[in-house]
Subunit: 257 residues, 2 copies
């Protein structure tokens, strides 16, 4: 309606579209050829722009990587939004959060590697401040889901009232357990060296031990395989029917377009 502004407006839209294109293509490249396969000039050429144009959007290669990670983090975080509302006990919903993350990581190995690489001090240092903030922001829905579930568990008496520990700090346990297990599982040859297999099964069992240790009801024996397996299946079924779950080992597509 305002012709004066519209041109400037269109420019911004075009600029955003171009940025999205760069991010999308960069992600493809990484998926196909790995992190090393991503080269700034090649990427620019792929998108039919000059190298310099790419640098209009991203201060550095690392900055671009952070943008890719933020995009995928937003997608990942979205999956957690519906979890607090699921028809499950609070403890099972907490498990649902863990399972959702496991499944996402399993289906997006490149995303996992990317974030691991990004938070490396050397790399992180080259990410611009707005990009960092953006990436942190993108993960917020996850912590909100955790917060909601923990708070409700306390309200309902499933979890003893806090003495000194906030909701976030409570969620920190499973979070660290998850992150750590991902790290170990992905370090080539590490767990093999100790003859440990199926790390995610162990993650689930240790998760139950952790929750039981905090007296989150209904307590469940982490060393009773059939109970653990049954609970996992039950929660996975609910996730699937809510459209959050993942078809078992079929590689879920990610292309947003």
């Amino acid at each position: 309606m305002l012709p004066v502004m519209s041109t400037e407006d269109r420019k911004r839209r075009e600029r955003e579209a171009r940025e999205a294109l760069f991010i999308e293509r960069a992600h493809e490249r990484i998926r196909e050829d790995g992190l090393l396969g991503l080269q700034m000039s090649k990427l620019a050429a792929d998108c039919e722009y000059a190298t310099g144009t790419l640098y209009q959007h991203f201060e550095s290669r690392e900055d671009l990587l952070a943008a890719v990670a933020a995009r995928t983090t937003r997608e990942r975080a979205g999956r957690f939004r519906a979890i607090p509302g699921l028809a499950l006990g609070t403890r099972s919903r907490m498990l649902a959060i863990v399972l959702t993350d496991i499944d996402f990581a399993a289906n997006n190995p490149d995303y996992y590697r990317l974030t691991q690489y990004l938070v490396t001090e050397v790399v992180w240092a080259n990410v611009s401040a707005p990009r960092r903030a953006d990436l942190l922001e993108a993960g917020r829905p996850i912590s909100e889901a955790v917060h909601a579930v923990v708070a409700e568990a306390r309200d309902q008496g499933d979890l003893p009232p806090a003495r000194e520990i906030s909701e976030e700090e409570m969620g920190l346990g499973p979070w660290a357990l998850n992150v750590g297990m991902q790290s170990l599982a992905n370090a080539q040859g590490l767990l093999d060296a100790y003859d440990i297999h199926r790390p995610y099964d162990h993650l689930i069992r240790h998760f139950h031990a952790l929750m039981t240790g905090w007296r989150w009801e209904p307590r469940l024996d982490p060393d009773d395989p059939s109970v653990v397996r049954g609970e996992t299946e039950r929660v996975r079924a609910v996730l699937r029917s809510a459209g959050i779950g993942v078809e078992p080992p079929e590689r879920g597509r990610t292309t947003a377009e």
Copy 2:
């Protein structure tokens, strides 16, 4: 005694000494200027050798980094050797393992960053096979200590007999928890964004929850701050008197010389 061999022998010794020199200086460089501060040609010049000579020892920069990590890992792993023999209950000895690791990481932040960077797929791919094996091997005493403590706990009835979980798999829980918390604690600005502070205190509490969840006696309420603090202090005191401990928050020196 065999003059024929002695020359060859001396050569090997000299070569090893030179390698040690490279590793030592590389570590200094990293400590002082960070990972980026380590440049192959500068390092060689520092040691008064040509760049090419450095490449006689290390296939690549990454290979050198792995060697540095292996050296420090050996030092770190050494600290765990005496833990199974401490005059403490099995559960407290398990805590001793966790505390020892926390303290080591706190005193060697560069070591933590280095390993985090190393296991990154991109980097790990450029580490030679023998070097990888060496690094894995260097950590073995740690898993041996864990194995010993878990096995004894089962023998003594502190921990219920295993149904389906090996000693290593039991240790995997605290291990992953540790690794994960280190990651989170070191990701610049991450925990701050969620208003979480003193991550290592939380690590200790979640560790207790985890152990209690596995019914490792004596069970201990992770949300009773004074009990947790007391236990931590008690175990730290034993560690200190065994010469393993670390003077509280005074930055312990690491320079081996």
